[in-house]
């Protein structure tokens, strides 16, 4: 019974998307972000327009950017014999390495909790694949907070500007700690608590230039990398003794 209903919901939303297929157009300021030696984060501009009949007052836009999944461990410090050490830990097998959502209004007021969960939209609805040895929501909360501190997770309820109910844009910031891989931008047009149209655009974060080479050699040829580090240090030391010969 439940399966049938889920199928119907999926079909209905698909039909809605089809019908309004052309009512949402969007593009990114860049489709590729290069992590180079001078990388200090990047700003991504997501912009687009609502076309045709859909461009009426009451429309809202939600933009989300999701990075590749990576497993992480959250550890809690506990006091053992007077010293604070890492104690219990919880492993999250598939937490997005990066997640940002921006919208014209708070997403809680735009979509129901059920709908947000279905769309995996918003920090509260992120699936993190908790391995679940300890049933403690504090670990999930800690993960969200730590990621937000590093600007890897964010929720910006006023981050999308809608101009004349038609033109919209949002700025998303990718901090220096983003990991390379395929990213995805999802743009949703929402009206009366329902998703009227959706667009998704791919974004790639790549390591480029010297830093990419260094990382690759360090992981593919660790012996050569270590030897190079030794030679470089030896050379620097020799250079120092020549420059400052007393």
């Amino acid at each position: 019974m439940r399966g049938v209903r889920a199928c119907l919901v999926a079909l209905a939303s698909l039909a809605a998307t089809e019908a309004a297929g052309q009512s949402l157009l969007a593009e990114l300021s860049q489709r590729e972000v290069a992590v180079t030696t001078g990388f200090a984060g990047a700003e991504l501009l997501v912009f687009g327009t609502i076309t045709g009949e859909a461009a009426q007052p009451g429309a809202d836009i939600i933009v989300s950017l999701r990075g590749p999944n990576a497993s992480v461990v959250v550890r809690r410090k506990v006091r053992v014999a007077g010293i604070w050490v890492n104690g219990p830990s919880e492993q999250f097998d598939a937490a997005p390495s990066f997640y940002a959502v921006a919208s014209t209004r708070p997403i809680e007021t735009l979509l129901s909790a059920e709908e947000r969960r279905r769309l995996r939209l918003g920090l509260a609805s992120l699936p993190l694949s908790l391995r679940g040895r300890i049933e403690d929501p504090a670990f999930r909360q800690a993960l969200l907070e730590l990621k937000q501190e590093r600007r890897l997770y964010s929720e910006d309820p006023g981050g999308v500007r809608l101009v004349a109910d038609r033109l919209f844009f949002a700025r998303l910031f990718l901090p220096p700690a983003v990991i390379p891989g395929p990213y995805r931008v999802d743009i949703l047009l929402v009206r009366d608590g329902r998703v009227m149209a959706a667009r998704d655009l791919p974004l790639t974060v790549v390591r480029a230039g010297t830093s990419a080479e260094i990382w690759r050699i360090a992981h593919d040829q660790p012996l050569a990398y270590g030897a190079a580090a030794v030679l470089l240090a030896g050379f620097a030391g020799w250079l120092g003794s020549v420059l400052f010969r007393r």
Partner: protein, 302 residues
């Protein structure tokens, strides 16, 4: 200027890192030690992951020690035979140390193990140094001469070998063990170990002070080189960019430090170094005992 560190996977202010190199280089030139024991905690303090801080600091210490070794080599102040014996022990110790390091990293306890090692080793060494230099300053007033070369149980050990340059005929067991211990510290703390090795060579082995620094640098260069390669293989946490920035600052700083150091007396210098070592130990001990600001921490799955 922000620079992206490829292995630490973060961007840092280049002038801050060069500044740390300069400051540590200044102190190492002043006191004649590598300064790794200051470098690693400072790097961790500015947010570099512990594993990267330790591995990179070992690499940086090697570069700094090469300069010193060349200078002492030119003056003929290196006992190569003693250096080789110490290095043999050091290589075994550092191999074990790198394995231990990889294991505790997997258990998520790197921060703790590094901090505990620092508190214990620096606490003991700093305390001994301060005490020794205080006694030396007092002794200077009273003019008591110690015997040059005391004999105790160590001199009854087998496998004796002649070290011509050090004018010693002793068993190889104590220098191998000392080298082993220093190698272990080098791998886990990212230090050269000069601040432990030099007193051990003088007081335990009885090596003449003229060849101590050069010989210890010989051991430090080879052991930190081995640690760099082993860390690169087992933890991939040596950051060449970070290491280069640090060396740039350290090489220049060491020159100022050396000229500054020549104006200070030996006992006072050692006393100051002891106080500095103690201060780092106390600071890290407080960090272990105080309730941390953030109870939760995030780490990759290894």
């Amino acid at each position: 200027m922000q620079v992206y560190l490829p292995i630490a996977e973060m961007s840092v202010d280049a002038s801050l890192v060069v500044g740390i190199g300069l400051a540590v280089g200044l102190l190492s030139g002043l006191f004649g030690v590598g300064g790794g024991f200051l470098m690693t905690p400072l790097l961790i303090f500015i947010g570099i992951p512990s594993s990267v801080a330790v591995a990179t600091s070992a690499n940086q210490t090697m570069g700094a020690s090469v300069s010193g070794l060349i200078a002492h080599w030119r003056r003929g102040n290196v006992d190569f035979k003693m250096g080789a014996v110490l290095t043999a022990g050091g290589l075994a110790g550092s191999a074990l140390g790198v394995q231990i390091f990889a294991l505790v990293r997997q258990l998520g306890q790197v921060d703790l193990v590094v901090a505990v090692f620092y508190v214990v080793v620096l606490g003991i060494v700093g305390g001994l140094m301060v005490g020794e230099s205080a006694r030396a300053i007092l002794r200077r007033r009273r003019q008591i001469r110690r015997r040059l070369h005391e004999h105790f149980w160590m001199h009854g050990l087998p496998l004796k070998m002649r070290f011509r340059q050090s004018r010693l005929y002793i068993s190889v067991i104590p220098p191998v063990l000392i080298g082993f211990g220093i190698g272990l510290l080098s791998a886990i703390m990212g230090v050269g170990g000069g601040f432990v090795l030099v007193p051990a060579m003088i007081y335990l082995l009885g090596i003449p002070t003229s060849v101590v620094i050069g010989t210890s640098l010989f051991q430090v260069v080879f052991v930190t080189a081995a640690v760099t390669i082993m860390q690169a293989i087992s933890t991939q946490s040596v950051d060449i960019i970070l290491s280069l920035l640090l060396m740039g600052g350290a090489v220049a700083g060491a020159q100022f430090g050396a000229s500054l150091g020549s104006r200070l007396r030996g006992e006072e210098t050692r006393g100051l170094l002891g106080l500095l070592v103690l201060a780092v130990a106390v600071e890290l001990a407080v960090g272990l005992l105080r309730r941390p600001d953030a109870l939760y921490s995030l780490g990759p799955v290894l």
